[in-house]
Symmetry: C2
């Protein structure tokens, strides 16, 4: 067992790095102030983060011990013992620290910060003098570093540490973790590269690529950007690094402990990334990679990477995405399958994959602000990501099904991965911290300023306060939003501080364009009011443009007609043939057995169904349920048996008989918070032939 | 390696056993004379049986060597080498011999009989002096016999040898194989039993239980019946034999070569058989066991076994059977799942399971002639069993899907087991010989005579000639049938030979009741004509009774109205909600892409669809196709894109638009004989609200 390593950080007060407070953040970081969203960010701060800290320290009764913190203590030489958990266990602590960083930026919490500082000191103590840092290889396989990039997640874990360091540094100005990862990355930069004696390799699980971009943006060190580009450029090239490494290892898999087949498309390493035009393989790996590709396209002006991103985006969201913004159609490899294959019952739709989709969408917006990217971002956020967490913040879906039949989840092995209820969040530690870090960093997803400094894009309608650098000014912008329950967002210009004197406008004015997203879900033309007056607007690429010289106190109201709509899927999606989904604003709705009885498949919604909005506080204050009428197919029993033996009990001549019944839909993201039962997003419809 | 064993049979001409030609067979064995069925029995005789013999001898180019014959040569000491193939490889040769036996009974073939005799001599040469016979344990694990009943199929293989011996003896009168299995069974009867020093165990894969009943019926030796009952009675009793054996073995599985979990319901050994009321586990094992249970209930008058059979029948056929007579909803364990879980796309529906279902149905009829048993038998036979084989007799489905999307079979791992085309029959050797032995023994499934010697039941409408022992006479009955294309069966009384003089009827007369099945699929009241005159009839338990004093030359016409009907499934079958299947007579129909274009899911069949019959020779002489009109949902493309980004390409507001198109259905059992494409049994319907 490896004992203590050389580098020991200063265990006293970490000094704040004043450099972070000056330059404006790209993208702008808003502070959330929104009754709907603060419920979630508070849940994360007061429940998820503390609870996960207990889990990481093996103090949650009834939960499998995580061993993540203990692995670091052992690697640091502070404790004896052996490694436990997955080979990527380190990333759980890293994701927790990242969530803490985001949360502290939104809401100072000195006690939490002290806990995090101590964790960071522990991580620093586990770092090798070379900069290497990974508890699995330190404890379990010393000397075997970088010999199984395909399976062992070393660069993946490093990536999560980098993301944590950047977030924590941004929030607190403290450099200890940032310095740790800089040493780690400098070491990686020596080990990997095109030169003689370097490894021309990359990780089996993409993550470090997007993290290195963040590190470049945090430090300005271009080597980190180049290293990210190296990993992206090498991926899938011939001769194939992962294949050669696998051959060298005797084709033995770390996970199954014996020879196993290699499927390079699982790792998106089957062809060079620029030649990939269909989303394949493990969905989380895919979207993490696409995110880095889009980052690199933006920061290096690489048009071929941008093209590849557009093509992959279009394939993924246009042919392989569930209406809930979920991706990954199969649990075999947690993967994409093929175009239009979107089964509802055997779905995978991993929470982490939708989070990665949001990352990718955010980067596509930065490359090119088009409403469709924000539409997808919003779709995944309100439906899959929010829906993955229970109202109590302690239970999670990893698989986010669009159709649940509890008996099938229990009794059909092909559907056993589709849990009918959210699981205690400590059962597996991958998705919950990912939800925590996304929700606590939501403020980064709302706005962006165009490269020419002339336009402020408002992507999401979330109550918040942000300071933007635009048109030579630091502009404070306040947003109030009634989403997702109704469609009104009000923007108020706060202080306008000119960064340097300008001639063409009067004092206290800033001339810039406000670009308000026109969401695809609008049920009519949005209405614009500026300072209380109706105003006209032009729409470009999905954004309404409001160009004027703004003054403090100016208000913009953006009123988005919202109505329940029946949605249909492309006819190539066989699973949804003859079915409709209900959508209202950004929210997908569903039917639950508790409201409608079962089997839900016996209900038929008329094509011209009127769905009345009913505001209720049953699950969330102000939530909108939808009440309507449907036809329920009579059961065989109610029609009387035909007394023809089996033919009468299971199959018989078609004699359609229906009864009109009330039907109630609830927002998909709130399903499963009452009692076990069936749930369906896609509902049979009466085609109106 | 074990060398030659003591017993060497007479390698010269096998002597015929005259005892077999005397007593009437139970059930009666008809000779098939039917244009529809002879095509299949001839395929079996001229293609399947010779081809499989080549395969068993490793002479089929491009096929995995079977090694089955070589294993016997090695075990007999005639050749050096090691065992290859599955642990149950012996059963392939046994099933082949059984098919040969059935075929020889229908159609003498001296060359085939010589080949079979030589194979039988080889089997005899591999038998141990003790009577033990199994090439795997002889070659590979000598001394380890009977130590892994759970996995190693020793009694299963013995069962298939017994069935082969009985069939071959019946057909040829030759005793060599029968004597071999009698020695084998006598040995098994010493090893297994309730006495001190005996194993109170049973096989992981049921089969010997039903085979021992056949051996009892062939030999009259009651010990064989008792041994079968012992296996059935012991199964699932506490303390559980299979669990204790598994514990003794260190929980190591023969198949995975390491420790593996035990699921006793997979083997139907979780509770005693009389307490089983739901069909669970591996479907083939289940129906083989139920078959033996029904046999034993009949032969021992065991009412509790009969009750269990009724309950299991009712659960399986009333809640867990596909409309094609297929069973087994999941490929995980090739198993049943739970009530009303009958997914079409991830179906298992193994051919062998439907064959076992036919065995069980046949025994239920023998216990109690009720039309519903014959309905299921006919349903499984015409749809799943016939459909499993290609027109050329050289390609087979193991999984018989009700819905095929070739792209999903290729691209979704959860549907990879659902092949979109029949596979070369030598790929795996379990289903093809099972089809061969069933089709070549079809003559055993047509008739039965009641215990009181007064009634002849006609279960299936298949052209044939049979000699029945009824009412003190040997009656020859000829049947001509137009099934499955139209519903007319004509029965002609042939010779009437009184076995002893009777007083109450004139010479050349025999008074008995002819019971003609009234199939559930009839599209109206059947018409009965006796000697050309309309006649009235009563119906009891699904059979029309015609009671008279019959004379040679009497004819009975049984005219069954046949029309295409739309069928619906019980509303609890979620997979079929909003869908109908087409059935005409015993045949289920389907839509194929070659006739209708894709996606088939875009087609909607009106509830009042008229389907016109069109006779064609495309696939089979005289086949009936069904032509009608349906509505095809417009694709997004044909409606123009809504230009709303991803929302427009994959999801958009519901705007139903349909075009009326022609639609053509073909018999399900003939699907997949033209080109690769989609196939659907369950079709969207317009509910007619």
């Amino acid at each position: 067992m490896t004992k203590t390593h050389g580098h020991q950080p200063d265990h006293g007060n970490q000094t704040r790095d004043s450099a972070t407070s000056g330059a404006p953040l790209t993208p702008p970081h808003a502070v959330i102030a929104d009754p709907f969203w603060e419920r979630y960010t508070e849940l994360v701060r007061t429940t998820v983060i503390p609870y996960q800290w207990e889990a990481l320290n093996d103090r949650v009764e009834g939960a499998e011990p995580s061993h993540a913190v203990r692995n670091f203590r052992i690697a640091a030489g502070l404790e004896d013992g052996s490694f436990h958990g997955f080979v990527f266990q380190d990333s759980d602590l890293a994701k927790w620290l990242e969530a803490v960083g985001h949360s502290l930026a939104q809401h100072p919490d000195p006690e939490l910060e002290r806990t995090a500082d101590a964790a960071i000191d522990l991580i620093a103590a586990a770092q090798h003098p070379s900069g290497y840092l990974n508890t699995y290889f330190t404890i379990q396989e010393p000397g075997q570093q970088w010999t199984n990039l395909l399976d062992c997640h070393e660069l993946y874990c490093a990536g999560h540490l980098i993301e944590a360091a950047v977030a924590y540094h941004r929030a607190t100005g403290k450099r200890v973790l940032l310095d740790v990862v800089i040493r780690l990355v400098d070491h990686i930069d020596e080990v990997f590269g095109p030169r003689e004696g370097q490894l021309r390799g990359y990780d089996g699980h993409q993550e470090i690529e997007l993290a290195l971009v963040k590190l470049f943006e945090a430090t300005g060190e271009r080597r980190y950007l180049e290293l990210s580009r190296f990993f992206i450029d090498e991926r899938g090239r011939a001769p194939n690094f992962l294949r050669e490494e696998w051959e060298r290892r005797g084709r033995v898999s770390h996970f199954v402990g014996k020879m196993a087949a290699l499927d390079l498309s699982y790792n998106q390493a089957h062809v060079p990334v620029r030649e990939q035009n269909v989303a394949v393989g493990h969905a989380v790996r895919a979207v993490y990679m696409y995110t880095a590709m889009a980052d690199l396209a933006r920061l290096t002006g690489d048009a071929s990477l941008h093209d590849a991103c557009r093509v992959l985006w279009s394939n993924m969201t246009g042919r392989q995405m569930y209406i809930t913004g979920a991706i990954g159609a199969t649990h075999h490899g947690e993967a994409f399958t093929f175009d239009y294959d979107l089964p509802n019952d055997t779905v995978y739709a991993e929470t982490c994959a939708s989070i990665g989709l949001i990352f990718f969408a955010r980067r596509m917006l930065q490359l090119e602000p088009r409403g469709e990217y924000a539409d997808v971002m919003e779709r995944a956020l309100y439906n899959t990501v929010l829906g993955s967490m229970s109202m109590d913040g302690r239970h999670y879906f990893y698989v986010n099904p669009l159709e649940v039949w509890p008996a099938a989840s229990a009794g059909n092995p092909g559907r056993r991965h589709v849990k009918a209820t959210r699981q205690p969040w400590f059962g597996c530690s991958c998705c919950p911290p990912n939800v925590a870090r996304l929700l606590s960093s939501l403020g980064e997803y709302l706005y962006q300023v165009s490269d020419d400094d002339r336009t402020v894009y408002a992507h999401l309608f979330v109550g918040s306060i942000v300071t933007l650098s635009v048109a030579g000014h630091d502009v404070t912008l306040r947003q109030e939003s009634s989403l997702p329950w109704s469609g009104r967002a009000t923007f108020t210009i706060g202080s306008l501080a000119a960064r340097e004197p300008r001639g063409q406008h009067g004092p206290g004015e800033a001339a810039f364009q406000l670009a308000l997203r026109v969401p695809a879900w609008r049920a009519g033309e949005p209405q614009l009011r500026v300072n209380g007056e109706d105003a006209a607007y032009n729409v470009n690429d999905g954004y309404a443009l409001v160009d004027r010289a703004w003054r403090e106190g100016d208000t913009v109201e953006w009123i988005l007609p919202m109505a329940a709509q029946l949605m249909t899927a492309h006819p190539n999606v066989r699973a949804n043939a003859g079915r409709v989904a209900i959508q209202r604003g950004p929210l997908v709705y569903c039917l639950e057995e508790i409201d409608n009885g079962g089997p839900l498949a016996s209900l038929v919604l008329p094509a011209d169904a009127t769905l009345e909005e009913r505001v209720s506080d049953i699950l969330l204050p102000g939530m909108v349920m939808l009440d309507g009428r449907a036809m329920r197919e009579e059961t065989f029993d109610s029609l009387g048996e035909t007394n023809r033996g089996e033919a009468g009990t299971l199959y018989r001549p078609f004699m359609p008989a229906f009864t009109e019944v009330p039907v109630r839909a609830v927002p998909y993201f709130l399903w499963g918070n009452r009692e076990l039962g069936e749930m369906n997003v896609w509902l049979r419809t009466h085609a109106g032939l």
